[in-house]
């Protein structure tokens, strides 16, 4: 098994709707998408953002774009003008998600052309 950080296999953009942040996670190459879809579950994202996301995490799949969309409810300090946060619009939730590490087998890593890390 090896660990790989999402920033090696995905890019992302995030935004806000009220107190909910949305993070669109996009595979850097289409063949990485099944890996994202399998590993980056709503539960894992909720755990990743513990202390930041106080509500539920919803996940939607867009295989046509090689992308996942996450809604992180109750994450922006009330949202919009109510929020006291530097990032009241959730703009940097995208890169925060890219910090996540996932585990894959050496075989799969080799098959996807992902360099050995660590």
């Amino acid at each position: 098994m090896m660990k790989i950080q999402l920033t090696k296999i995905a890019h992302a953009r995030s935004g806000d709707k009220g107190d909910t942040a949305n993070v669109g996670l996009i595979a850097l190459r289409n063949e990485f998408f099944p890996l994202l879809a399998r590993e980056v579950t709503a539960a894992r994202v909720k755990e990743h953002f513990r202390g930041i996301c106080k509500g539920d995490v919803e996940r939607f799949e867009l295989p046509n774009l090689g992308a996942l969309n996450f809604l992180l409810h109750e994450s922006l300090g009330g949202g919009g003008t109510l929020s006291l946060m530097t990032d009241a619009q959730g703009k940097t939730f995208s890169t925060a998600l890219l910090r996540m590490q996932i585990e894959i087998t050496d075989d799969e890593a080799a098959r996807l052309g992902l360099a050995i890390q660590e």
Binding site: H11, A12, R13, S14, G15, D16, K17, G18, D19, T20, N22, G24, I26, L28, H48, F49, G51, I52, F60, E61, L62, P63, N64, L65, G66, A67, N69, L71, G77, G78, G80, T81, L82, L84, M85, T86, D87, T92, S94, T95, A96, R99
Partner: protein
């Protein structure tokens, strides 16, 4: 019917690059210029401006822009569609008409005026008739903030824009209209799409979504390969090149900076996305899981395959209301022990606020350089950090308490941890919070009106 039309986006928000729309007009062929001026809080600002001056309440930048580009638009028959009217669409139209007269364009310009979105004066009538306008996010009834409401507007769709264009408007000015309607309207007008041709309406809607944030789809704020994106100083704003069959290409003018490719368009597609199966607008429900993207040469992305479904029976309403006060103060602590000093300052300040008996709904401390964007995910800060910014904000209904808080920041310089600076800006300002209340209203309650103002 034209085989294709080019719709150029000129503003991603009120405050975007001032010369972007000028460059869209001058930089190459376009048929339409669409301009989005209204963020959620903008309407309440405009409502306040109108309360002070009945002639105000719209985006004045737009009038100045028209002065610059209207002659070229008339000469080349470029139509302008903008939600610049705010809470005073007729006032905005009158100002543009005056500019047109001054430019010697009398008899050559028709201005379409779209109204009917402003429902502020009807709120009590709605509530009395059982239209509750509950908050879509919290479920609370509007009566909980009734006496604090500052503005209320329904989001109009593409239909009244199409009507104004059909009547020959060179410039269409709306109040609260959906960003996507500003792009979809010209397509319906040019291609004669039926009101129930859901796939095409969805395609036009998604084209609007892609270009509505300006350069955010053409290289701006783009993570993918960002270091190689050329010449952002000269970034090209996006153009949707639409065809009658609903397919379109996203591109930008030749010779501009930035980049349009599949990754840059994907990033914008997922921006502010909810459930991708149902992107709901007044015009249709678009399904983002049907979008197909392909590169079509340099800085061109072809978009096809889009499916849509019938529109819902509701319109979204955006209500702004007064929600208390807030203030944010900052100080910068330097090496050595920058983070420890900033943390100590936070403890001291909070203790003083406590002793003063000040009560707030929320107090938030962030340490910029340590945890302000990624929280605990950022890990432990470097022990030898050159500096850390201490940032503390408070929010509450009691203006006097927030005001008192703003006077407690500067004293930390002489009465707190050493190595502190960064107070050149003076005391933080107390800000009145205008919050946003999203709701739904039956479409049958909203009547959009289109008038044509001929410049004589």
């Amino acid at each position: 019917m034209k085989e294709k039309i080019r719709i150029a986006a000129g503003q991603g928000f009120w405050g975007d690059l001032l010369d972007a729309p000028v460059r869209q007009v001058q930089g190459g062929p376009i048929d339409y210029l669409m301009l989005d001026y209204l963020a959620e809080v903008t309407m309440s600002i405009m409502q306040k401006q109108k309360a002070r001056d009945p002639n105000a309440g719209y985006a004045r930048d737009f009038v100045a822009l028209m002065k610059e580009i209207l002659p070229a638009c008339v000469e080349r028959n470029i139509k302008v569609v903008a939600n610049a009217g705010g809470v005073n669409v007729p006032g905005c139209a009158a100002a543009v008409a005056e500019v047109a007269r001054q430019l010697g364009l009398s008899g050559k310009v028709k201005i379409g005026i779209v109204t009917g979105d402003d429902i502020l004066s009807s709120i009590d009538d709605f509530l009395a008739r059982g239209i509750e306008l509950r908050n879509m996010d919290t479920g609370d009834p509007l009566s909980t903030v009734r006496d604090k409401i500052q503005s209320a507007n329904a989001y109009l769709g593409a239909a009244p824009i199409v009507e104004a264009l059909n009547q020959g408007a060179q410039v269409v000015i709306t109040g609260r209209a959906t960003d996507t309607g500003l792009t979809l309207g010209p397509m319906i007008h040019e291609f004669g799409w039926a009101a129930d041709d859901w796939d095409k309406l969805a395609a036009g809607t998604i084209a609007g979504h892609i270009i509505e944030c300006g350069a955010q789809c053409s290289g701006g704020n783009c993570q993918y390969d960002w270091q190689t994106i050329p010449d952002l100083a000269n970034v090209g704003f996006p153009i949707a090149e639409a065809s009658p069959d609903g397919r379109f290409v996203i591109t930008k003018h030749e010779g501009t900076g930035g980049r349009v490719n599949v990754p840059s368009v994907k990033e914008q597609l997922v921006y502010e996305m909810g459930d991708p199966h149902e992107y709901i607008t007044p015009d249709c429900v678009a399904d983002f899981t049907t979008i197909q993207l392909a590169e079509d040469g340099a800085d061109r992305v072809r978009v096809s395959g889009i499916k849509g479904r019938p529109a819902t029976d509701s319109l979204k309403v955006s209500i702004s209301y007064s929600a208390g006060f807030k203030a944010v103060g900052t100080l910068v602590y330097s090496w050595p022990d920058a983070y420890a000093k900033a943390q100590a300052a936070d403890k001291i300040l909070r203790s003083r606020l406590e002793r003063l008996g000040l009560r707030f709904d929320e107090i938030l401390t962030e340490f910029v350089g340590v945890n302000a964007t990624h929280g605990a995910l950022a890990g432990d800060p470097a022990l030898d950090a050159a500096e850390v910014q201490f940032r503390i904000g408070v929010r509450g209904d009691d203006r006097a308490a927030v005001e008192r808080f703003t006077k407690e920041i500067a004293p930390l310089i002489l009465t707190g941890p050493p190595g502190v600076t960064g107070f050149a800006g003076g005391r933080p300002k107390v800000e009145e919070i205008v919050a946003y209340w999203p709701a739904l209203i039956p479409k049958s309650e909203i009547k959009a009106t289109v008038e044509i103002l001929e410049v004589v």
